[in-house]
């Protein structure tokens, strides 16, 4: 995990723990304090503080290997055996989209989507979700019969049919082409506006982060290095100038020399 010479230094704790601006006051859905995690001699998270308000959509950016997945796994309660300390508060119903699409190889696409659902109309719901992600008619396929992007969409459908209080999504659109990705953004937005879960979305795409989230958090050297609130007019690209400024800001925080070649 290379240190980023151009990265911002850690901001003040008061900033770091600020809850989402657009959701109004109230207890945060997620609160993380002094989260420390490490594997062997290496520290990965060195004291992360993070609050997510109910209904708030937070995007998590950061270089490869900086600990984004580690943070998500900690929030999902999947790091029983990982060394570290810190205080984590999360709601009961947490739904996770893993970085790998993680479909049970021995279950059909439909079975993978309905996994763990107790509703009576689980099947109907799942079929609808599959149709929404463009996989109508593939219900009976085995996961290995799907393309990479299709597998990722099944994983997305699995999270769409749930009504979590917190949605943790680890690069859920990584294997999708531009058009499919836009469609999936739409689906995610619908889900969010329907059930208003708190969302923590890991992505590598700065534009995606700006378009979807209320707030963007950049992780660096195991700390929350940058936090940016995304004004609604920027997110929907009405304020194109503000959009570009925020984009450059974030890219700089990620260590990209924005003034060099176009990418």
């Amino acid at each position: 995990m290379a240190a980023h010479p151009g990265g911002l230094t850690a901001v003040e704790p008061s900033v770091r723990t600020r809850t989402g601006a657009r959701t109004g006051p109230g207890a945060p859905t997620v609160s993380v304090r002094g989260l420390i995690r490490g594997f062997g001699p290496k520290g990965v998270l060195n004291g992360v503080d993070l609050d997510i308000a109910p209904g708030e959509f937070v995007a998590l950016l950061g270089p490869s290997g900086c600990g984004k997945s580690t943070l998500l796994r900690a929030l999902a309660g999947l790091d029983h055996d990982v060394k570290g300390s810190g205080v984590i508060n999360v709601p009961d119903r947490v739904s996770v989209v893993f970085q790998d699409s993680r479909l049970l190889p021995w279950d059909t696409v439909l079975g993978n989507v309905t996994l763990g659902l107790r509703d009576h109309d689980a099947d109907t719901k799942a079929r609808r979700a599959l149709a929404e992600v463009g996989l109508a008619g593939r219900e009976k396929s085995w996961p290995h019969e799907l393309s990479g992007g299709e597998q990722q969409r099944v994983a997305l459908a699995r999270s769409l049919v749930r009504e979590p209080q917190l949605l943790l999504a680890d690069e859920p659109f990584g294997a999708l082409d531009a058009l499919t990705r836009i469609k999936m953004h739409g689906l995610l937005r619908e889900l969010v506006s329907a059930h208003r879960p708190a969302v923590l979305l890991v992505t590598h795409d700065v534009d995606e982060a700006i378009a979807l989230s209320d707030r963007i958090v950049v992780l660096d050297s195991g700390l929350v290095a940058t936090v940016r609130t995304v004004a609604p007019e920027i997110g929907s690209a009405v304020d194109a100038a503000g959009h570009e400024a925020l984009r450059r800001d974030l890219l700089t925080a990620l260590g990209v020399d924005v003034n060099a070649a176009s990418h």
């Binding site: 893993f98 049970l104 996994l115 749930r162």
Partner: protein, 286 residues
Amino acid sequence: MSAPTVERPAVAPHQDPALAGRDDVRPTGRRLGPGRRRRLAWLLGPSALLLLWTAASATGLLDPRILSEPWTVVATAGELIADGRLQENLAISAQRAGLGLFFGIVVGALLALVSGLSRAGEAFIDGPVQIKRAIPGLALIPLLILWFGIDETMKVLTITLGVFVPIYLQTHAGLRGIDLRYVELAQTVGLGRAGFIRKVVLPGALPGFFLGLRFAVTGAWVSLVVVEQINSTSGIGYMMELARTYGQTNIIVLGLAVYGILGLLSDGIVRLIERKALSWQRTLAG
């Protein structure tokens, strides 16, 4: 830089009949792995064995007093089938083996689940099973007679005891071999204990279970040799024991052939079910 391609027919032309006759030239690296399954290929080995046996008998290499000739065995089989003895004995044996197999599978799988899914269960179950496994079955027979008599119960129980071990061991190993990623998934989608077992543990342990089953089916047949010596007047184990007593080599060899055929058949059936049940697997098995 010339392409190492070989002209070969399409595996099967794509549905569109207009395309059926088209060229199909594919890059052919040496294919690692065994290649496609061929139907009936499994018959080759046993046929070769049969041929060898016939040849050795015909040339006198094989003393017929040790191993009867195939034709004698076939004749014997004809006689025994004609007077109904073979069928009767087989039916009785099949019933015993079936019962023992059934209980063995149930017990083995249940124990494996308990021991595989909780450290406490493992602590108490696994050790004793390993000990049971390490103690020769013959040595247990006096104890079994003492506790369960010499009737059918004891016979079925002995088979059960033999059968449950591979089922347990394999299911346990299969279960313990389940990828942790799926366990995490189960946790995050809120599967309960039962759902976890049904959706993740059982399907994940299935390949192991089937292997255990393959040991178990042949194990059940083989156990008959021992249990049908005890207070039996029927069954192929008894038939063979009697033949040994009276030195009826032809019947002994017939019995062995029957065992061989039964073993091949049961194993084949298990493998067939396995292939159907595990059709989701994409492995070297093809």
